[in-house]
Symmetry: C2
């Protein structure tokens, strides 16, 4: 019902004239009116560029996504934390590679220089560094909004304000165990979300860096060349190569060598190929990465997730902070949607903030995590579902002519106090057909009908709104003092 | 465990020297290092002024508060929406009376002028105005953060970033019905939250305005005088009177007349006193307010909430947008905590944004709502609860010496796939006593023990960690293929 472009459709400039409102609002805003002649006030009726409202229908799907994902995260023992929407500017600086220009700043209103968070990973690292030793082994999830001053593309789900949904494991452990668990979590979350078949592309920064080193890329150009390689999922190799040589100043023969590697992908078989590669055998960085991947495959097999992954040497990921395995989940057959989850290992980020211990040694807290791009998942699910019931209502209290409004309130109160979601018409003399309409519109299964004759006997009627049985009439007579029990019995039956 | 001043305690300025990190991070941030000599980088390890992190323990209490409140809201048929954290600056301007100076602006980075939302009410009104006719009758709740560039007082729970939790009813209905329902919702939410006894102070803007008019306050000074009266809960009348006469330029005899009214409070009896007041009988504004209150008392009686309210003529509420009843909930005996919920009717706010219909008539959508100050409620509950279990873990997979790590992973996978929250030690050769410690620390009720002898028979052991029975030993032997069933049976017993 509501497309992602809804807010743009509704961007209408309206003008309203204060004087015409004044008789309706004798006091409201009188302070402002008193000092000047009442004048036209024009509002641009829109949300800020790149942001949108979520309606009740949107939220119903969104909460379904969040609760599904939360359940998977908590199943692995994760707890949740929350950090402020803004961080000191310097905390965010220099962590996002070429995307740092997209950081959203707050106005300097005579305080600190703050920016809106760009992701949930850097705030998490700051949190771990700040909250002391009991958080140096820590498994947490965090579902919250992040901010990027990007060029919005609503149709592609690229917004300036959007939700991320992160799961991370901090702590020094035996190698690749948390990494394997994060991949299990990622695969389980996407499976439960019912987004259709997907592949988790997998790579290792150390293998990638080993390849670049071995091919002759100077150390200081590695991140830059890496960014170019990362575009291989969108561009053909020739264009990536041109960018490498022309923009990133890589020698053509070096680019050619790189090309031979980064076009490779597969499973454990590819790992074996790399193990036998003579050039990589001379790179200790690559060898560390290969040893990690060997362990990871053992663990992924035990957890039954290897079959959902693809070892893909073109995957590079733009963020500066990754140090070990990196991954990106891509749904099948929806090329334009792009990745719906991504993450990796970042062993030095907490260390950048945490300083040194009492002995003067740098504090290191290695981390690995994944971030689900909920907006894209949400768009996929929204396309599948229509007309979601966004309320919990189970009962509508309906007055037949002659029944008093106060009776309606008393019956509703009885239901509310018994925790039964209930509504009634906000009209003293509500017409019966209008009340049925309301009941149907809100998709309410049961009506409690109050009539003066029944009330005189201490009774009300219950009618099943889903049953189209004409013999039901105004429903079944029930004594008022049995009403709640009877409703609960019927609701239990409906929910079975 | 974590006081609200935690983040200030942890505000430590640390310095870390890049060179010492470089061997650990050969690639990380190489772009920045390449252009300049590695140099010391200093981070202020704190959250921005007036903001704080929420730890897992904080969040456990917070989520309990949110789910309790959400349940009450949804019981009344409310749905939820979400709006962006920022709004166009002009949307927020002129709605908050003397507090407008506290609005938080974003930097102008070559776009629109935006501010962070100050409350959830103005964004709600903008939403209703913007999303068309199907939202002109709308009952919604919204739990989200709002922003005020106030002088923070962490100890009093006054922050720059804090949660609000709103319930509002928009729409043109028979008088005072939504108002009564909002009061029922407010009382039920506070009761369920178990914050202890409370009173909802209640007043009506029209009665208050009628009093000011009748006492001789010029119309343009009404909001200003009202702000002074609103301080009566914190200051004695003499000081409020001095502010009125000296700062707000009210004639002393006018102030004296006002004083006779605003010191009054009570229940339906006070309403009767006002009905008989000759001076107020001449004010049509006051008469409208009195008629509203009469209806409200009837409805509150039917909903059984009148006994939780106090009709209090000193209650004024600072926000410009209120037009009808206003209220504020105050916990008993905790004077310094202040109000824990507040709200009222605001009939003209949507109209300010909504412009005119096709016939050129102004669109009006009357609204009434309440906002719960969750931070204060949270502080009250936090003081009551200690050492909350913040994870969902039910099972810890423990290896006896000689059992392989891969078996641990396989057993954990079985549990996860059956939706049982499970953990295991991330260590290939984990010592048994360390694993018991972890199990205890995470408050996990059941351990699954894997030993090589048992595995050879296709069995594992289940041990109840809550039972201190020494005869339990390493627990009960169970065939691996019955493990999940057995765990589910035991967990069901524990939860009973």
């Amino acid at each position: 019902m509501f497309s992602t472009t809804r807010s743009t459709i509704h961007s209408l400039r309206i003008s309203l004239t204060r004087p015409s409102l004044l008789p309706l609002a004798p006091i409201f805003a009188s302070q402002r009116c008193s000092s000047s002649t009442p004048q036209a006030q024009t509002y641009v009726l829109k949300t800020p560029k790149g942001t949108k409202d979520y309606t009740d229908q949107d939220m119903a799907i969104r909460e379904q996504v969040f609760s599904t994902v939360t359940r998977v995260f908590r199943r692995h023992g994760a707890v949740t934390i929350d950090t402020p929407v803004m961080e000191l500017k310097e905390i965010l600086s220099g962590k996002y590679g070429e995307d740092s220009k997209l950081i959203y700043d707050l106005a300097d209103q005579g305080g600190e220089s703050c920016s809106l968070r760009y992701d949930l990973t850097v705030p998490f690292a700051r949190f771990v560094a700040m909250h002391g030793k009991s958080y140096h082994r820590f498994k947490r999830y965090h579902i919250a909004k992040v901010y990027r001053r990007d060029q919005p593309a609503m149709t592609k789900g690229r917004l300036r304000e959007f939700y991320q949904c992160d799961f991370d494991i901090a702590g020094e452990y035996d190698p690749m165990l948390p990494d394997a668990e994060v991949l299990k979590v990622l695969c389980d979350a996407l499976t439960r979300l019912d987004v259709g078949p997907f592949t988790v592309k997998l790579n290792h920064r150390k293998i990638l860096d080993g390849i670049f080193e071995a091919c002759g890329v100077p150390r200081e150009s590695i991140r830059s060349v890496s960014s170019a390689v990362d575009k291989l999922d969108k561009l053909p190799w020739d264009e990536v190569k041109r960018e490498m040589t022309e923009v990133r100043h890589v020698a053509p023969e070096v680019a050619e060598k790189i090309g031979r590697y980064v076009k490779l992908n597969g499973g454990r078989d590819l790992l074996e190929t790399l193990e036998q590669d003579e050039m990589l055998q001379r790179s200790s960085t690559a060898q560390e990465g290969i040893a990690d991947m060997r362990l990871l495959y053992d663990y992924m097999d035990a957890l039954d997730v290897a079959n959902k992954t693809s070892f893909d040497l073109s995957l590079a990921r733009g963020l500066d902070y990754y140090t070990g395995i990196i991954y990106e989940a891509v749904p099948h057959g929806e090329r334009e949607v792009g990745s719906i989850a991504a993450g990796g290992r970042y062993d030095n980020l907490v260390g950048m903030f945490a300083g040194t211990n009492k002995k003067g040694q740098p504090i290191q807290v290695p981390c690995v995590g994944v971030s689900l791009g909920v907006e894209r998942i949400f768009a996929i699910l929204q396309a599948k579902q229509a007309n979601v019931k966004s309320n919990d209502l189970q009962v509508c209290v309906v007055s037949a002519p002659g029944a008093s409004l106060l009776h309606r309130l008393q019956v509703a109160r009885q239901c509310w106090d018994a925790d039964i979601p209930t509504m009634f018409a906000y009209k003293e003399n509500a017409k019966l057909n209008k009340q049925w309409e309301q009941c149907e519109k809100a998709q309410i299964p049961l009506a409690v009908v109050i009539g003066p004759d029944e009330l005189a006997q201490g009774k009300v009627r219950i009618k099943n709104m889903h049953k189209k049985d004409p013999n039901q009439g105004l429903g079944t007579l029930v004594p008022v003092h049995d009403l709640v029990d009877e409703l609960q019995k019927r609701l239990a039956e409906i929910q079975v």
